[in-house]
Point group: D3
Chain length 211, copies 6
């Protein structure tokens, strides 16, 4: 029977009776049993570069490591979209990643890319805001138009029409930028679903980054 007095409830019932919420996230990366394959030389170099630059290999890469072709095509597309030259800054691309992932309520992507927004912007509350509700953030008209488009194409892609693209052009985006907004929003609509479908867990280190 439930106790009436909750003074010690948190400590007694919850705090001690279970491990931390992210406890197993670094060891049981997805709900699928897919044994990692030996890394190809190219992927071994990529993992080494991650370790060097980030201090760890993102769990999504480990999740794809059961198949070198899949790992390679995923990494190639990710790196082109998020890191190659673009009319969108890296921060803007990460903001799209988080706004899309917030609509889709994707744990993995919100943790990993929320950290990226905090770090690239040097403004931790900005990362929080886009996770929670980007409409409550004080965004520039350019940023707002960009996220409105990315979220509309996420939520109701069948309603996107010329006037939506016109709004982006009015906010200063070139056609190539519109492609990039669509491509980044599209990419996270893919990864959100792969992550949710497989219960992919983010590296626990992200939670503490850039707070």
């Amino acid at each position: 029977m439930a106790k009436r007095d909750s003074k010690t409830g948190a400590a007694n019932r919850v705090g001690k009776s279970r491990p931390g919420a992210a406890a197993a996230d670094d060891t049981r990366i997805t709900a699928l049993k897919l044994p990692a394959q030996p890394l190809s030389p190219e992927m071994a170099a990529y993992f080494a570069k991650c370790e060097e630059k980030l201090g760890f290999v993102p769990n999504v890469l480990k999740a794809y490591a059961f198949d070198m072709t899949k790992l390679g095509t995923f990494a190639a597309m990710y790196n082109d979209l998020m890191l190659a030259p673009s009319g969108l800054s890296k921060l803007e691309r990460e903001m799209i990643a988080v706004a899309v992932s917030a609509h889709n309520r994707c744990y993995y992507c919100l943790v990993a890319h929320g950290a990226a927004v905090r770090q690239l912007s040097g403004d931790p509350p900005l990362g929080e805001l886009i996770v929670m509700n980007y409409r409550a953030a004080r965004l520039s008209p350019r940023e707002r138009a960009m996220l409105d488009f990315a979220v509309k194409v996420t939520a109701e892609p069948w309603l996107v029409e010329e006037e939506d693209r016109a709004r982006l052009r009015h906010a200063g985006f070139a056609d190539r930028d519109i492609w990039d907004i669509a491509a980044v929003a599209g990419f996270f609509n893919m990864t959100n679903r792969v992550a949710s479908a497989t219960d992919m867990r983010p590296n626990s280190v992200y939670h503490r980054q850039s707070r």
Copy 2:
């Protein structure tokens, strides 16, 4: 015209051209101009207690301070629901607050009560998880049943029926506990809407708490 090279994008375009996302949150608390009234002795004591215990007065209390009756009734209901003895621990009540506020995407409540979950649980990722998607958290059956009920009564209250209450009883909740789950979920459905309707901003200090 947009630049193709984004190497310095974050720093140039965003980092320097705007203040932090939470910059004005402590000075412009809502979008309404409602001058604060002199605090009644009771409310002055309450504010002093907040300063002493928390180190600050939560912005929601300042937002209600244009009218002592409204401030008083809000504080009385809040304190009874969230702090008085109950079959639900304080952490459980805060978990409900966050799960409901996540459904409603309420910036104020997610920031303030997300911090409370981090602090009461001693497990920062748990706070993150419930903000993002409580279904991805590794909850006890009791916690999961509690949040499923709170979110259903938030999202589609017209569909709640006896079998939903039966599920709570099966998970060990007494009738009084069911009332408390409903009352806490109901309360945050109220405050989420007052906060969203008035663009209420959380104290910036919450962002860094218990990380």
Copy 3:
């Protein structure tokens, strides 16, 4: 096996085989077994005043009577919001109550506050209309703007922005009025959920009032 002839169907199958739809609503007020506590002197006086003015004690008050603190805080907030001086008339506040409860399809609140709209307006069809679809009512621009805001903050609070408040100001509402619209809408979003979560039943007398 089902009969083909329905001539006497209504009388035979339904009318006689079950009690009226509101038959038990005055005796089994919620689905929870929460024994009433002795009324505090303040609450006893309040109940007596209800009996005197209305001829009965609203079931919602009886439902809260298992705990004098919860009854007291609920009654205090209700009375301030719905009866204290405001830029909104009492009828306008009841119209918000009904429009919000219609969105949430809350039996208790639609019955009790639908009756209030019928009575305060002296126009029974107005109460019906707001229960069914307030958009079909012939409202003044002020009333329509008020209900549009209340229903948007009910249905999609995360989408409320400055332009929604601007629309209210354009319709003549002061900032204090906007608070009151938000607070009344928020309050019924709370009570709708407490009522739905507990299957709260309205006093049967409401059904016949002000027809």
Copy 4:
């Protein structure tokens, strides 16, 4: 500027400054200007029968009277579905009409068929309940299965599958009854939309019937 004191708000602002909500409903039946044609002998007899039995001609018939073929086909289908022998009682068919119209929030149909449920059942609160939320009514398993099917086929017809029909059979419905449930639900999904598209207004007399 809005007044702070609302004591006389209802009377001053609303009650006197506008006509009743149903004031024009008997004279301006739809938002379209479609002059009535001379009634055919068959339709003249039908209208006379309505006057005799009901005391009035339902506005929906007047709305269709701009074209005798459309009036005739509508009346023929309505009379077959709602009045001809069926495994469903007339009350059951009216309950479907109201539950479907409640989902679609159709003013005309809720007023007219809500009155029919009150009258046929001899239980006014039953009519109220189905307008508000049929799930809160104390229905027999047969009635509940029938309305669940009718509302599912209204809200998400693309999800109806064999297991939905199996549930009806389990509740005692024959295949012919299932057709009738589908046909009545379908019919009101048609009329709800014609009524909403044209702003069709119900005869004001319905509001007071069978209270």
Copy 5:
């Protein structure tokens, strides 16, 4: 266990192990066992005319043939709405049928009326487009306004207001045309639901027509 090599997957697993998707559609017309009644002379003539003009009797007519009154009222309403003189061309009425049925994802109506759009327009891709997403079609302003209204009244009839009718008038539609758009959209909201509720199957011949 699943094979890794899929080279012959399509042929082996699917192509040979099951009949064509429309194989039984001409023999098992609905999921209900409702024996056909002898055709009345009027209906026998109607069926003969279908055979003569179309080469077959549409399955929907066979589905209604368990009851001559229901068959007759359905056929009369259908023929008036879709074939009688109107300000809407027959193609326009079929376009409404398909756009409404696409929203409701109705297999029967999309197959039968998609074929009609292909045939009447002489433009097969137009039929495809309206099945898939009418917003992607290059429609005239008149057609677009017509389908926007039909789909809004299908998806959210409770939101239709005077400004929606004004948009139709602005696009050149007379009040009588607005009625016809509403009536055709309403009719398919009915038949979509009867078809989905009974799993009605279209004549297989439609699939190959006017490609």
Copy 6:
């Protein structure tokens, strides 16, 4: 003013006054002006292979040809997912493509992959059915479980949990197959959005294939 007689409506108003619905789809491939770059040797070989095998280069490849890196990463991921060995047959992967694209109402992907389902299955109505409503198709339990998962992860990825994966395992899918279902569903959630955001048009030849 609109004419009352529609006998010649289709021919007069629509058929002659506009080009076919797919008329410009092969020349104006997206709404963005992004000049094609010279093909890299690898991509030139790929395009030549498309011409040889299909008789044309799919428009999506032409749309990506403004940037060789983006074209290459897209083609590599597509070819791995849809053509490489997998526990899913090629037809099954195309069925997922169409079911996902039907939920997202994506013109490009429904046309191109609907044709692929028609061709690979040798059963044109199967392609139609999945475009319209896969739930109306007579699928094997394996196919149905696969599409239910793909559509749930498309529509509400945040609700996917272990019991959804368990259902796939129960239907005979290995963990590697579950990954592939998720990956193909995810991929089309990406391409649907890139296509909708840019108004990408399918090669007109698809419409007539495998009918």
